[in-house]
Amino acid sequence: MPFFDDLWFETRIIARSLGDALGGRGLRLGVTGLSRAGKTVFVTSLVHNLVAGGRLPVLRVVAEGRMGRAILKPQPDDAVPRFSYEEHLAALTGEDRHWPESTRRISELRLTIEFERANGWSSGKSSLTVDIVDYPGEWLLDLPLLGKDYAQFARETVAASAAPGRAALAGQWRDTLAADDPDAEADEERARISARAFADYLRASRADRYALSTLPPGRFLMPGDLDGSPALTFAPLRLKDGAPIRPGSQAALMARRYEAYKAHVVRPFFADHFARLDRQVVLVDALAALNSGPEAVRDLERALGDVLSAFRVGARSSLATLFRPRIDRILFAATKADHLHHTSHDRLEAILRLLAGRAIGRAEGLGAEIDVVALAAVRATREAEVKHGRETLPAIVGVPMAGETVGGETFDGEAEAAIFPGELPADPKRALDGEALALGDGEADWRFVKFRPPVYAKGEFGPVPAPQIRLDRALQFLIGDRLA
C-alpha cells in the first residue's frame, strides 16, 4: 500500500518538524562526504577547537571576544549512536598518533555554545545548541532512489557499469548479470550470488587505487546490522525494455527487495535525520581523485551532482514542505588542504568549484547559500621552500604515512620529509582532461602524499588543539550567523 506508506512517511516528517520547532532553537549541522573524505577528523577537530578554545580568528564570536565556553551535552536522540569524540581524539593525540577510524554509520553529538549576543533586542548571555550529525555520504546517493522504481534503477546501474572507467571493474558482475534471466522462477540462491557479485563490484570501485565514487545503493558497502537480510540481497537485472515484470519471477523478487530497501533503509534515514538538518557541510577528498587521474575526477563530479540532487528530494511534495526545516546553507569543503602548499589552494578551490558547479547550479532553486573552501581540520604539515640546484620549490614538511611513495621515495611513517607535490593546473578544466585512472607514482604532474597527524602539544587540560586551515572560516559560514 504505497499510498498509506507515503502518508505515514509525510506525517512522521511533519510531526518531527513540529517537535523540533517547539523544542527550542537548536541547530542541526550535517557533516557528510564520501568515505575517506575526512568526516571524522573534521568533527573531532571542530569539537576539540570549540571545547578547548582553539585559535579560530575568523569565527566572529571568538574574534569579538564574545565567546563563552562550549560544552558537550548528553546525546539527545536515544536511537542514534553517539559520536565517540573522546576515542577519536585519543587516536589523534595518543602516543601512537594515527587518523581515527572512518565513519561507518550515522552518529550524533550535542554541543552547547555559550556566548554573548551582540545585537538584536535579546542582547546579553545566550547559548546555542548544535547537534552535529555525522553520516556516510554514500547514504545521500540513496535518496534519489526514493523517486525511482526498480526498473529505472536497474537500467541506470547497468548502463553506468558499461562506462569506460568502470567496465574493467564490473567485468565479473556483468558476467553474472548475463547469466541471470529476469523471467526465471524466483531463486534465493541466484539472488545471493548476484547480490554478492554486485556488492564486490561496488566495493572494488572504491579501492584507493581507483578512488571512484560510489553508485547506489550505498548500504551495500556498509551493511551494518542489516548484513545478509533480504533488503540487502538484491541486484539490478537486465530487464527487457517496456516488458512488465511477471509475478513470481526473479525480477519480481528483486523488485520487492528493492522496495523493501527503500522502505526500511532509505526512508527512515530521510525522515529521521536528513529532513531535519539546518546546515550541511559536504567534505570532498579531491586530492585522492586527482591522484588517481582525470577519470576519477570526472566520476567525483558526477557523484557530487548526485549528492546534491539528494537535497532536492521531497522539494515538490505538497504539505510537508511547509513544515519541513530546510537546509539553508551548504558548504563544499576540499579537505586535506595541508597536503599542498598554500599557493596552490586557490587552484584547489577552483577545481572544487568546477566539480561542484553542476551541483551548485542545481541547488540554486533551493534557496540555499553555498560556499566552497579548501580546508584542513587538523594541519599535519608546515610550509617551507626547498632550493635544489637552480630550482626553488614550494614544499610542505611533515611525516608521510608508512608506505606512501613520491618521486621514487617510499616512506616508513617515521622520517620527516619535505615534499613538493607538483603544481595543480591553472585552468581547473585540465584536471578533468584525459582518460587515465589509477595512475602510479611518477605518471602524473602531481602526487599528493598522506601525512601522519601532527604531534599535539600537551596543555594543562589535555592536548592543545592543533593548528587548522580555514576551519574557522567554515564554522563562520555554517554557524556564525546564529552566534551573532
Partner: protein, 356 residues
C-alpha cells in the same frame, strides 16, 4: 617559461636533527628555508579587518539600524500620535470656525489644510526614500566587504553592478562604469574586481570628500580663531559639521533629508567615538600636546586648531560610514592626509614661540 614542463613531484628527506635547535637539513645537497610567516594567519586577518568591523558596527547603529523594541521608541511613537491627533483637532477647529464665519473663508481654510497635508505626505515619502537609500548603501558596503573577504566572484559581480548603478546618473563616472561592465563577463577574481571598482569608481569621490573636509576644517579653525564670542563659534561649528556630513553623504550617492541626516550623524558619531582614541594616537598631535605647547601659545589659536581637528575627524568618520565600498585597495585617510595645514599650524606656532 610557460611552455617549460612543470617541475615533477619530489620528496626530500630531512636528515635526523643532530641539534634540536639547529636549522633542518636535507639529504642530497638541497637546502630548505622554513616559512617565516603563517600565510593562513595573514588570510584570517584580511578576512576580519578590525577597522572594517568598526565601520559596520557604526553603520548598524545609525543608518542601517533595524527597528527593535524599546520603551523609548514606544514613548515617542505614542506621544507623536497624540500630538498629531491634537494638531488634527486644532486644524479641524480652525476650519469649522472659518466655515461658521463665511463659506468662502472655510473653503480656503480647507484647501490650505489639504495642501499642507499633501505636502507633509510628500515630505514623509522623501524622507523614507532617503533613509532607505542610505540603508541600501550601508548594506552594499557590508556586502562588498564580505564578498571581498570570501573572494566570492559571483557576489562581487552582483554588488559591483549595484555600485555602478548607484552612480549611473553621474557623467564623470562613465568611463569607470564602462570598464567595470566590460570586466563583468571576464574571468576576474571577486577580490580584484572589488578593488578595481574602489580604485576607479570610488577614489574620485574620495578626493571630492577630502577636499570638502579640508575646506570645512579651514573655515572652522579660522572662524573659531577670529570669532568674538564663544557662543557664536559653537553655533558656527555645529552648522559646519551638519553641512559637512550632508555634503559627504551626497558625494557618495545618498540624498539625506532631516531624518536621514540624523541617522548618518548618529553613525558618524558612533564611529568617531570608537576611533577617536586611535586618532589621538596621531603621533604629531600627541607630541604637540604632550609637550604642553598648547598652553604656551595663544589660547584662541589653539581652540581654532582643535575645532578644526574635530571637524576633520568627524568628516573622516562620516566618510567611512557613507562610503558604499569598504577601504581595501585604498588606505583610509588620516587627519594628516586630509588637513595637513592644521598640524603644520601647530608646529609653526610652536616653533615661533620657541624662537621668540
Amino acid at each position: 617559461m610557460s611552455d617549460a614542463a612543470p617541475p615533477r613531484p619530489r620528496a626530500f628527506r630531512l636528515a635526523p636533527a643532530t641539534d634540536p635547535a639547529g636549522a633542518p637539513r636535507l639529504e642530497g645537497g638541497a637546502s630548505i628555508a622554513p616559512e617565516t610567516f603563517d600565510p593562513f594567519a595573514k588570510e584570517a586577518e584580511a578576512a576580519l579587518d578590525p577597522d572594517e568591523a568598526r565601520v559596520e558596527r557604526a553603520q548598524a547603529q545609525g543608518m542601517a539600524s533595524k527597528r527593535r523594541f524599546s520603551l523609548a521608541a514606544v514613548f515617542w511613537t505614542a506621544s507623536g500620535l497624540l500630538v498629531s491627533l491634537a494638531a488634527g483637532l486644532w486644524i479641524d477647529r480652525i476650519v469649522e470656525d472659518l466655515f461658521s464665519r463665511s463659506r468662502a473663508l472655510g473653503a480656503v481654510g480647507l484647501a490650505l489644510a489639504a495642501i499642507a497635508l499633501a505636502a507633509l505626505a510628500g515630505l514623509v515619502a522623501r524622507e523614507a526614500r532617503a533613509v532607505l537609500r542610505q540603508r541600501g548603501i550601508a548594506r552594499l558596503h557590508a556586502g562588498l566587504a564580505a564578498a571581498r573577504a570570501a573572494d566570492d566572484g559571483r557576489a562581487a559581480r552582483v554588488l559591483v553592478a549595484e555600485l555602478a548603478g548607484l552612480y549611473a546618473h553621474r557623467p564623470e563616472t562613465a568611463s569607470a562604469r564602462a570598464e567595470l561592465a566590460r570586466l563583468q563577463g571576464e574571468i576576474v577574481d571577486g577580490r580584484d574586481l572589488i578593488d578595481l571598482a574602489e580604485r576607479t569608481l570610488v577614489a574620485p569621490l574620495d578626493r571630492r570628500a577630502r577636499a570638502e573636509i579640508a575646506a570645512a576644517a579651514r573655515r572652522v579653525s579660522a572662524f573659531t580663531t577670529l570669532a568674538p564670542r564663544a557662543a557664536l563659534d559653537v553655533i558656527f561649528v555645529a552648522a559646519q559639521a551638519i553641512r559637512l556630513v550632508r555634503r559627504i553623504a551626497e558625494i557618495y550617492g545618498g540624498r539625506p533629508g532631516a531624518l536621514g541626516l540624523l541617522r548618518i550623524g548618529r553613525s558618524a558619531l558612533a564611529h568617531l567615538a570608537v576611533t577617536g582614541g586611535v586618532a589621538a594616537g596621531d603621533t604629531i598631535l600627541q607630541q604637540v600636546l604632550g609637550h604642553g605647547i598648547a598652553a604656551r601659545i595663544s589660547a584662541k589659536l589653539g581652540e581654532g586648531v582643535l575645532n578644526g581637528l574635530l571637524t576633520t575627524r568627524l568628516g573622516l568618520s562620516a566618510m567611512a560610514v557613507c562610503r558604499p565600498a569598504p577601504y581595501a585597495a585604498i588606505a583610509p585617510p588620516g587627519v594628516t592626509d586630509v588637513a595637513p595645514f592644521l598640524l603644520k599650524g601647530w608646529k609653526a606656532a610652536g616653533e615661533q614661540k620657541d624662537v621668540g
